[in-house]
Every structure is written in C-alpha cells, then in structure tokens.
C-alpha cells in the first residue's frame, strides 16, 4: 500500500501545507526581489492546487495490518464485523 506521501508532487499533505505557509510568510515579509517573488508565487499556487486536490478525495481507506509467516508485514482489506463490544 502506498503511503499518501506518494502523491501531492512527492510531498505529503502535511509537508505541502508547511511549505505553503513558509512561502506565504516569506512573500509577505517583502524581502524578495521581483523575480524571486514571482517564482515563489508560482510555486505557492502549485502547492495550493495540490492541497486542494488532496482534500477533494472523498473516500476513507480502511485496511488491516497483518504479519505474514516470514515475519514481514502486509495490509489486507478490512471489513467491520459485528461482535462483542
């Protein structure tokens, strides 16, 4: 099973948000020259799009972690069953 970190352009959502916040902060500081500022803006917008795309995923994935005979770990589909509380 791929970790969610594989999408959003190699950045996980958490990292994408953190990077976006950092870019906004630098831009607002007024320290950047015009060329750098516009580059930062473009990068920031692509992060915004990536984050919004991730947020639009509607499905919760549910899996079960199991240990195989050789000791390695794998995931299997999981179904909620009724049982003793």
């Amino acid at each position: 099973m791929q970790g969610e970190g594989a999408t959003a352009g190699k950045l996980g959502f958490e990292q994408a948000m953190a990077e976006l916040e950092r870019i906004v902060s630098v831009l607002e500081s007024g320290e950047l020259g015009l060329e750098d500022a516009l580059e930062a803006f473009e990068k920031g917008m692509s992060l915004v799009r990536a984050c919004q795309e991730k947020l639009s995923q509607a499905e919760t994935r549910i899996a079960k972690l199991v240990e195989m005979k050789d000791g390695s770990l794998a995931t299997e589909p999981f179904r909620v069953e009724e049982g003793p509380g």
């Binding site: 099973m1 970790g3 969610e4 970190g5 996980g12 959502f13 958490e14 948000m17 976006l20 916040e21 870019i23 906004v24 831009l27 607002e28 007024g30 950047l32 020259g33 015009l34 060329e35 500022a37 516009l38 930062a40 803006f41 920031g44 917008m45 915004v48 984050c51 919004q52 991730k54 947020l55 995923q57 509607a58 499905e59 919760t60 994935r61 549910i62 899996a63 079960k64 972690l65 240990e67 770990l73 995931t75 999981f78 909620v80 069953e81 009724e82 049982g83 003793p84 509380g85």
Partner: protein, 416 residues
C-alpha cells in the same frame, strides 16, 4: 519484692510495646467498617472488624479529605496506618493514613506501585509527550477488530477527513493474553513506516475489563512507540497507566478519532486563506517594484541634462545608456505590465524628444534650462542641445507667444 505500678506506668509500657513493633508502625489491614462516624471536626472515627476481632480506628481530617470514596458501615476496606495507644482512654487504635475499597485489593495496590515507579522513571513527563501530526495520512488503530471502538473510530474519521487511511491492527483488549497482544500490535506499528499516529484502546467497560491497559509491558510498548500515541480506554473518569504514558489521552475511541484528524471544512478554509494571502503578497511586491521604476524614470528625466559635463555627444550617449540599462534590468525581472510601462517611459524620454528634432535650450554657465523667452535677453549666449551635439548661440531676437502648428519658429528656438 512486689513491684506496684501505677496505671500510667502500665499504660506507658503497653504504648511502648505497641508503638515499638515494626509491623504495626506501618501496616495494611483488611476489615469491615463498623460504627462509622464523621465528626463535626472533620475527623473520622470507626472500627475495623472481622469474624473474631475488632480494632478502633481514627482517620484525621487532613488524611481523609483525600479519600476517593466515602466509607460506610459494612464496607470491606483496606486501610493503611500505624497502631498507637491513646493513653487517656486506654484505647489502642489504628491511625489510618490511607484507605480504599478492598474489592480490587492487591490489584489496585499493584497499580499504585507501578504508577509511582513509572512516574519516577519519567515515563509520564510532559516533556516526553509529542505533538500530534496536523494532517495524518494514515491513522493506526490498535484495538479489537470486532468491537464498538473500531466502528466508532472509522465512523468519525470518515466523517471528518475522508481522505485519511485507517489501518486496523487487531489486538485482544481484555483477558490474560491482552497485554502481550497489544504489545505485539504496537511492535508491528513500529516496524512499518506507513503510520503517522496511532490510537490504542477499546470501548467502555468495568475497571477489571480495562486492566490490560494497566500492564507494565503495555505501558513500555506505548512509551517506545515511534509515532505519537493517543490512548482511548473507554472510561470517562478512571485513568489507566496507558493513559499516563500516552502522548494524548481521550476518554473514548470517538474522541480519540477526533483528536487524531483535522476537520476537513476547516482545512479547506485554511488553504483558501493561504491562497488569498499568497496572491495579495505577490501583488504587493509587483506594486512596489512599479513604484520604484516610476520614481527612477522621473528622476532620470530631470537629472539627465545636468550630467552633460564632458563632451556633449559622449555624455548624451552615456546618459542614454544608463536609462536604457536601467529599463532593461527592470524588464528582465518583470512581467508584461512593467514592459508596457518601460515602453511608455521611452516615449517620454528626452532622447526620443531630441531625436524628433527638438532641442533643449540652456544657459551656458549654470546650465539651467531655458523654458521661457522671458529668461533671456537679446545678446545672451545660450546653449542648444540637439540629439547629436550642441550649439553655442547668441540670441538675436526675442518673440513672445506660443508656437502653433505650421508657423515657423526660427528665432530663439531650436534650429537656429
């Protein structure tokens, strides 16, 4: 020889024997409460009895105010204290320092001892506790695969942050095999790189059913977990050892799921807010650069003629180059709008003006521009700067009145 003792002497001897005994100096006693009285002073007076004996007890207000329960006649309790003698009444009494219901007896004592031991090791320290990730991609749940807990966790996470993955790590959550099972599950979580945060717990139950979460092995496995742990042991008031060790404690599995994930609507708003700030900040930078360009352009227009200190032709070329270079620099770094502005600048530049055939008239000594026919008289020497050089001229005539199109202006004007 018969030794006759006073009452006080005898009493004192009994006191010394009783209070000198090492066991009675700090002893746990199990017995049934009877004749319980809460005095107006706040002190508790009662007896502890069993089938064949009874002993008087007192628990002073300072101690009994910390009791987690209210003693009553008939209750089976464990009392800890020291035995002493109150000489005035001749009563040998147990001075009780701590007391608890005897139902869970030694189990509860063991819990207290383990709690104190782990606390002393620093396992409960606030400094150890980690922050939960803000946007976990994978939430692991160490719990029974068939209980209400996992259903609740899945329901809450599906509602709050649908894109999240819930990774169920099945474990027994009560019974003798439960501690080992939980430890094994946590170990599996540690061995996989997938997980961002883990919830360990179970649904509600009696204190006996939750007891696996007071196990030392479980506590150490939680402490050794590589990712933040939320304990969710399904009890509103009682805390288990797992609750103390975990990075966060939730009273129920549902509450744990809410702690673990952000609310989707809120996150959406945060992203939108950042996009707005990003746009505003970028516009701000462009606006400031445009201001600086316009400022530079204006000052160049005014200053340029004064820079003609050397040979006019060379000076003109240099000035033209400076303006052009400045404009080019800005163009390179800028965007379309700035390019338009720069083009507009060139159109207003005096270089363009000169190229179109206009001249700039100046007084030769102080190089002030002559804008008005009133500032010169007949016979004055003036300098006329053209696109490719300058002329020294003497004013032959002065004529007032604005030139209009079609009328030749060949006196006191350019082209002389």
């Amino acid at each position: 020889m018969l030794t006759i003792y006073s009452v006080s002497d005898v009493s004192r001897r009994i006191k010394q024997i009783v209070e000198g005994d090492p066991v009675l100096a700090g002893v746990w006693v199990r017995g049934e409460v009877s004749n319980f009285t809460l005095h107006s002073s706040g002190h508790m007076y009662f007896s502890l009895k069993d089938a064949s004996a009874r002993i008087r007890c007192v628990m002073f207000r300072g101690r009994n105010s910390r009791l987690a329960f209210t003693p009553a006649d008939g209750m089976l309790v464990l009392a800890f204290g020291s035995v002493g003698m109150y000489e005035k009444s001749g009563d040998v009494q147990l001075y009780v320092e701590d007391m608890m219901p005897a139902g869970t007896g030694s189990l509860y004592l063991g819990f207290l001892q383990l709690r104190d031991k782990l606390a002393r090791e620093g396992l409960f320290d606030q400094a150890r506790k980690r922050q939960l990730p803000r946007f976990p991609a994978v939430v692991a749940a160490v719990t029974s695969p068939t209980g209400a807990a996992i259903r609740d966790i899945i329901t809450v996470i599906s509602r709050r942050t649908p894109g999240t993955t819930v990774l169920v790590v099945p474990a027994q959550v009560q019974g003798d095999e439960a501690p080992e099972s939980i430890v094994k599950a946590l170990d599996m979580v540690n061995r996989t790189a997938l997980v961002d945060v883990v919830i360990v717990g179970r649904g509600g139950g009696s204190i006996e059913e939750l007891w696996a979460f007071n196990d030392e092995r479980v506590a150490r496995a939680i402490a050794a977990c590589r990712v933040p742990v939320i304990s969710a042991v399904g009890h509103e008031t009682d805390f288990t050892i797992a609750d103390f060790v975990a990075d966060r404690r939730a009273p129920t599995p549902s509450a744990a799921a809410e702690m673990a994930t952000p609310d989707l609507a809120e996150v959406r708003r945060d992203v939108a807010q950042l996009a707005l700030r990003l746009d505003a900040a970028a516009r701000g930078v462009v606006a400031r650069c445009r201001e600086r360009l316009e400022l530079a352009a204006r000052s160049h227009v005014l200053r340029f003629p004064l820079e003609l200190t050397r040979e006019p032709r060379q000076a003109l070329a240099e000035a033209e180059e400076r303006v052009r270079a400045s404009v080019l620099r800005t163009l390179q770094a800028g965007r379309e709008r700035l390019g338009v502005l720069a083009a507009g600048l060139e159109a207003r530049s005096p270089l363009g003006t000169l190229a179109r055939g206009y001249g700039i008239v100046r007084t030769p000594v102080d190089r002030k521009i002559v804008r008005s026919v009133a500032s010169v008289s007949v016979g004055d020497r003036v300098e006329v700067v053209l696109a490719d050089g300058a002329l020294g001229c003497d004013v032959a005539a002065v004529e007032e009145g604005r030139p209009d199109a079609g009328r030749r202006c060949d006196r006191g004007q350019a082209g002389l």
